[in-house]
Amino acid sequence: MTTWMLRRLIQAVFVMLAMTVIVFIGVNVIGDPVEILISPEADQAERARAVIALGLDKPLWEQYWRFLLGAVQGDLGRSFVFNEPALKLIAQRMPATLELALTAVLMSVVIGIPLGLYAGLKPDSIGGRLVMGASILGFSLPSFWIGLMLIMVFAVQLGWLPSTGRGQTAELFGVQWSFLTRDGLAHMAMPAFNLALGNIALVLRLTRAGVRENLPMDYVKFARAKGLSPNRVVFVHVLKNILIPIVTVVGLEIGGLIAFAVVTESVFAWPGMGKLIIDSINVLDRPVIVAYLMMIVVLFIVINLLVDLLYTVLDPRVRLETRE
């Protein structure tokens, strides 16, 4: 187990290093920030001074080495546009994205599992089929279009929910959060639901498949024969057994949600990291692009690692296999 974890950790570090090389070299070889940042009227001397100030005159490997040294110390360069540390910019916007993603996770579990149980227990009922049909839509429809339709119906036509922004925020642990105020919650409802849709469909289908798979098993028959109420059989015995794949998938999808928040944030003008990266790509603000990509890569590697570990804790069968 320890050697396995160690190997997994070393692997993660290597992936991270490889990613820094790809991202850094990619971003720095292609696209010239001097063109964008220095006004066209600037003369040769001013240009040269700017190049030196930005450290762009050094050879690429030296730029990379300085970047890596800085990254280890938590310094990923300064934004060309905002003239602030890139990491600070991202950290400022991170709570907005995190609360959106976590609300989406909550929604997908709270909505997905009950619907999945229903569809699994009554697969031939009209309701069960409707739920399954709708879940296909949740998978295959482009999420940005659903977001637009949500805005059209609930913000423009009905006027029930605000369409853009975070609304009023309140402070907790020195960070501004939307979920603490009524106004903020109203602003969050549509984007979070939009972000959650794909995951609701996923959780729903996993739950249904799990129920269908577990119902004919002996332990269910035994529990029934014991005279337990149908509710207890489903909610205690069956649910416990189908929870493992659901926990894994939901855990793995948190990273996906944070990445996909790029789209939702653009649709609902939610001021999170995703909107920042899109804006930064449009003006070629390289330090912010690199910092964002590095953050996301690290986040993903950590999430994958945690889910792997969690899996061995939850499911003893996996532990036995790795011990060989």
């Binding site: 992936v15 971003v27 482009p142 940005f144 059209m152 990445a259 789209v263 990266i277 070629l284």
Partner: protein
């Protein structure tokens, strides 16, 4: 297909039983009415996309035909020179119906093109991995696993952040996102086929390796690849639309469906829904139809589901 000509009816009873594989495939596919409708829809959509320059009421790329005075007209309105805009116009006075037809061309072209390239690369690598085994197999599959652990949108975003916008870069991003799924599918199919007797027979004939893999193994690996291919075309179209919507995809001069939707976004809040709505419907129908065809293909081609 030479198979279509083969059933010479020597005996009427035998002829019924000896239907060609293709005829059997068609009849099994047609068992689901939804799938038939979807297939017809896909054919129509592809037809519209291919024939757009000839059947669209207006050439949306030809600025001479546009009149800014016709901008943001509601569906059914008539233009200054008497043309009817069935689906309204966008902010530059472009007929939405024509815009959608031309947009479909670009969306389908990018989606199908990138999926086809990804299919060739991914399938080839998957077959090589399965056939070579050992280190080649492990390292290729590690790469596939690694890539699939990152969501497609993120990989695409990363590539576009590095390479910049543009149609070619979007296609490249889509190919890089999708090849891994093809490789995994092809490998698992090939591993099953490699143990079959015909492969042993072919090996005994001392055929060259490339011939073994591409002439004998590949045709038998095709069914799952075709299924995953259809679904990945739909995914590629979705992803392209998403990227274009974010402003990272195709250029504004030749908009795909995603960019048409993005253009209408700002007007939606003032109630001018059609600029975004109709391209969205076109995108939706396209994706749903391709997905449903893919679903039915999976049911028909998957021997495990056969009754």
């Amino acid at each position: 297909m030479s198979a279509a000509a083969s059933p010479e009816p020597q005996d009427a009873v035998v002829a019924v039983k000896q239907e060609t594989p293709f005829a059997r495939f068609v009849s099994e596919y047609c068992e689901s009415p939804v799938a038939v409708v979807s297939f017809i829809a896909v054919v129509l959509i592809v037809g519209v996309a291919l024939l757009a320059p000839w059947i669209s009421p207006q050439n949306p790329y030809d600025l001479a035909q546009l009149d800014i005075m016709d901008g943001r007209l509601a569906p059914g309105a008539t233009s200054m020179d008497g043309m009817v805009f069935w689906l309204g116009t966008d902010d530059q006075g472009r007929d939405m119906l024509s815009g959608i037809m031309y947009g479909l061309r670009i969306s389908l072209g990018v989606g199908v093109g990138s999926a086809a390239i990804a299919c060739v690369i991914g399938t080839a690598l998957g077959l090589i991995a399965a056939f070579a085994g050992g280190k080649v197999d492990t390292s290729l599959m590690r790469l596939v696993d690694l890539q699939l652990s990152f969501p497609a949108i993120l990989v695409a975003l990363m590539i576009l952040a590095i390479l910049g916008k543009g149609v070619m870069n979007v296609m490249l991003a889509l190919v890089i996102v999708e090849w891994a799924r093809f490789a995994r599918t092809a490998r698992s199919a090939a591993l099953v086929e490699a143990r079959r007797e015909y492969m042993e027979a072919a090996q005994c004939l001392a055929l060259p390796k490339w011939r073994l893999v591409f002439r004998h193994m590949l045709p038998n690996c095709m069914p799952p690849i075709i299924v995953i291919g259809t679904i990945l075309v739909a995914r590629a179209i979705t992803l392209e639309a998403t990227l274009s919507f974010l402003g990272l995809g195709v250029p504004i001069t030749e908009p795909s469906l995603g960019l048409l939707i993005a253009n209408g976004y700002q007007y939606m809040l003032s109630g001018k829904y059609w600029i975004s709505f109709y391209p969205g419907i076109a995108l939706l129908v396209t994706i749903m139809a391709i997905n449903l065809v893919g679903d039915q293909l999976r049911d028909v081609l998957n021997p495990r589901l056969k009754r």
